[in-house]
């Protein structure tokens, strides 16, 4: 189990004033949703939390140790990330792609063993893409590729799961399936943080929410306290209608 925390963190969004420094502690069992309009810095925040981008100031700590003091390989064993955009210059099969999740766990001379193979196949099975194992990645649909990316993260099996819009391209059934999978992971002691555009997914599955404004302002806390219609309307500059369904608030944008 691992905790990810920020100390006076200012993310580096080019050309934007510093805004509000982040002092959050993301604990095992919690599911955090990061909400905000386009360009608010959600992806930049995610990459900064993973140590892939330098912060403008402040620091990110993994189990109370600064990320900058840790080796990339040690970070990768504890923290994994699903990117919003992926690059595939070279053809690769679904199974090969999933197996690279084992990379941080293998020494330079090791090759993937039966156990690694089993983990990958199990993850593909969970995400309903096992039947595509031998297909080339670039022949898959956007939703199938998204599920392969999540399966790769499951194969990596880190304590902290960061996901950039994990429900992108997914049909309704698989959106629910992925969110339930993440809830199960949190239930098993993992720490989850994701960027989302769907307020209703956040309302039903997230325990905590971070609202990120375009000007760098931010506030965070328990989901039920943060998902206030007025706060959300200000966040997106969009009028909302709120109704209740299936025990959770549902936010619908007004069409004018």
């Amino acid at each position: 189990m691992s905790t990810l925390s920020t100390r006076d963190l200012i993310i580096n969004v080019p050309g934007r004033p510093d805004g509000f420094a982040l002092n959050m502690s993301i604990e095992p069992g919690q599911i955090w949703g990061v909400l905000g309009p386009n360009g608010a810095g959600k992806t930049t925040l995610l990459h900064t939390l993973a140590g892939l981008l330098p912060a403008r100031s402040g620091q990110v700590q993994l189990n109370s140790r600064s990320l900058t003091a840790l080796k990339r390989r040690d970070i990768a064993r504890r923290l994994g990330l699903v990117f919003q955009e992926r690059q595939d210059s070279f053809p690769a099969t679904v199974l090969e792609t999933t197996l690279i999740g084992r990379h941080p766990w293998l020494s330079p001379w090791d090759s993937e063993q039966g156990d690694d193979q089993r983990r990958a196949e199990q993850a593909l099975n969970t995400l309903d893409v096992r039947h595509l194992s031998n297909r080339l990645l670039n022949t898959l649909s956007g939703g199938e590729r998204q599920r392969v990316a999540i399966a790769t993260l499951m194969t990596q099996n880190p304590d902290i799961l960061l996901l950039d819009e994990p429900t992108n391209h997914l049909d309704l059934h698989h959106q629910v399936k992925v969110m339930n999978l993440l809830r199960d992971q949190a239930g098993a002691g993992k720490t989850v943080l994701m960027c989302l555009h769907d307020l209703n997914l956040a309302a039903r599955w997230c325990t905590h929410v971070l609202l990120l404004h375009s000007n760098g302002d931010a506030c965070w806390g328990l989901a039920k306290n943060m998902l206030e219609p007025t706060a959300l309307e200000r966040l997106y500059n969009q009028k909302l209608i709120t109704v209740e369904a299936d025990g959770a608030p549902v936010f619908v944008p007004v069409s004018f």
């Binding site: 990330l81 690059q87 053809p91 690769a92 090969e96 990379h103 293998l106 330079p108």
Partner: protein
Amino acid sequence: MTRSLLGLGVLALASMAFALALGSVTVSPADLWQVVQGEGSTLHRTLLLDLRLPRTLAAFGTGGLLAVAGALMQVLLRNPLADPYVLGLSGGAAVGALLAMLMGMGTLIISGSAFAGAMLATVLVFGLAHGTGSWTPSRLLLTGVVVAAGWGAVITLMLAITPSYKLPGMLYWLMGDVSYARSPWPAVVVLAVSVVLIMPLARNLNVLARGAMQAAALGVSVRPLEWTIYVLASLLTATAVTTAGSIGFVGLIVPHMLRLILGNDQRIILPASALAGGTLLVLADTLARTVVAPEQLPVGVITALLGVPTFLYLLHRSR
């Protein structure tokens, strides 16, 4: 997968036997076997061991070096169209070599000057692309391509002011020719050592092929790895160019052919490139010196003539 490497190894040995047997005097397989065992006539021993063997090994080493360098460059630049010369290394080497030829230097100086030119080109692109600190494959590629164009202009300038009697030698060097090889050993040794050294990094390269951010997220120290590949690929290419001039095509096409057949696992592709690149150049060089004997063709022509149809066939089949 080990089976495909074994198969390529057998092919490599067969191509070398073919290269040794064929020439102005054809040696029968029985005679060849006798020489291999340390027997046979003095004529055959001199012909095979002193004349054909060094040239065959030089061709194998050069082909292997170019193919491995090409495979590395393609991963480094995340661009399947990259080849060992894409960053202007052969241009630097050519300017070095032509300068030495223009001053009437001997072959040793020409080789040394070509190597120095290649290394200068490497450092130049490295420095220019590194300049402001931000460093991306596309920036490196653009810097390399522009510097290569600069070298091309210098080469044309040198050819334009060269007295005509010196031109044929220069043009042959530019086309690439294994007969320039003084000793096969630098190429063979550099090839063997670097393939062994790169193998522990091969899985890192697989991850890097998915993009720098993804690689970093999976625990790869991207920057040091990229510099290592850059320096190694440059060293391999410089050694190849110094051995046999700038032979085109091998470095681009061999890694591609292998990817079409074997997939894109660098743990297989890198050693397979060494074997297949060597085999291709051995065969091409054998044809180059026998087809219109006693005249010789530039080996680059043959690699292209062999490689183009083979590649198109594989591409067609993979659809």
